[in-house]
């Protein structure tokens, strides 16, 4: 049973964000990097302080992806997705839920679209989510801040 706390009442925030990138690679190469377990393992990593505990993926309609790892703080994050639409070299849709330890922190729908742009590939990722009360913990906040500082540092390079 999830614990309840008077300091963190139940809440849901709905939000959508969109990230666009252009890569000097073919849509087939980008699609493979997104869907092939060995290829995805080469770039989809948690970085420093992250220990991978489990990783499985089976990209086809109805197929699942499971990713579990422990952060420096000891918090274990779990990502569980079900793929709903898979169009080779063009599109991926999956619904996913995320947990921090045993707290469910979000349920969302992600869409990844690939479009050829000359010899490059334009990638658009849209995530539409319901962000739940469970994210309000020190571990995720610290982690979030670190990511933001890293992102800021990278943008200044």
């Amino acid at each position: 049973m999830p614990k309840t706390s008077s300091s963190s009442p139940r809440s849901v925030v709905h939000a959508t964000f969109c990230i666009e990138r252009t890569y000097p690679a073919s849509p087939a190469q980008v699609f493979k990097a997104l869907t092939d377990p060995a290829a995805k393992a080469k770039w989809f990593t948690g970085g420093n302080g992250y220990t991978l505990l489990a990783r499985e993926m089976d990209v086809r309609p109805g197929g699942r992806e499971h990713l579990k790892g422990r952060w420096e703080t000891g918090v274990v994050s779990t990502f569980d997705a079900v793929y709903h639409d898979v169009v080779t070299d063009e599109r991926l849709l999956y619904a996913c839920e995320m947990h921090l330890d045993d707290r469910k922190i979000s349920v969302s729908l992600a869409t990844l679209e690939l479009k050829p742009a000359g010899t490059d590939t334009h990638l658009v990722m849209t995530e539409q989510g319901a962000f739940l009360d469970g994210y309000d913990d020190a571990g995720s906040r610290e982690r979030g801040s670190n990511f933001l500082l890293d992102a800021l540092g990278n943008s200044l390079k």
């Binding site: 809440s11 849901v12 925030v13 709905h14 939000a15 964000f17 990230i19 990138r21 890569y23 000097p24 690679a25 190469q29 980008v30 990097a33 997104l34 290829a39 080469k42 770039w43 989809f44 990593t45 970085g47 922190i105 979000s106 010899t119 990638l123 990722m125 995530e127 989510g129 962000f131 994210y135 309000d136 995720s140 906040r141 982690r143 979030g144 990511f147 933001l148 890293d150 992102a151 990278n154």
Partner: protein, 70 residues
């Protein structure tokens, strides 16, 4: 009013109507937590997509067919 309804449904804004006057206030806690969480998710994906770019660069360089100055 439509925008206000959206903000209210997100929990970021509360409003009270007294007579003809509607008073809105921002929920600072909801705003900061929601922003924090969504910014975090976005930042994670930005980082993943940077890493994807580095990985793709190694692929295309390895092939030698997609010559491009870095």
């Amino acid at each position: 009013m439509q925008h206000l309804a959206v903000l209210e449904s997100s929990g970021l804004v509360r409003s009270v109507k007294v007579g003809r006057v509607r008073t809105c206030r921002i929920e600072p806690k909801a705003l900061s937590l929601a922003e924090q969480w969504i910014n975090q998710r976005r930042a994670e994906w930005e980082q993943h997509f940077d890493q994807l770019g580095e990985y793709l660069n190694t692929l295309v360089k390895g092939e030698g067919t997609h010559a491009k100055d870095k």
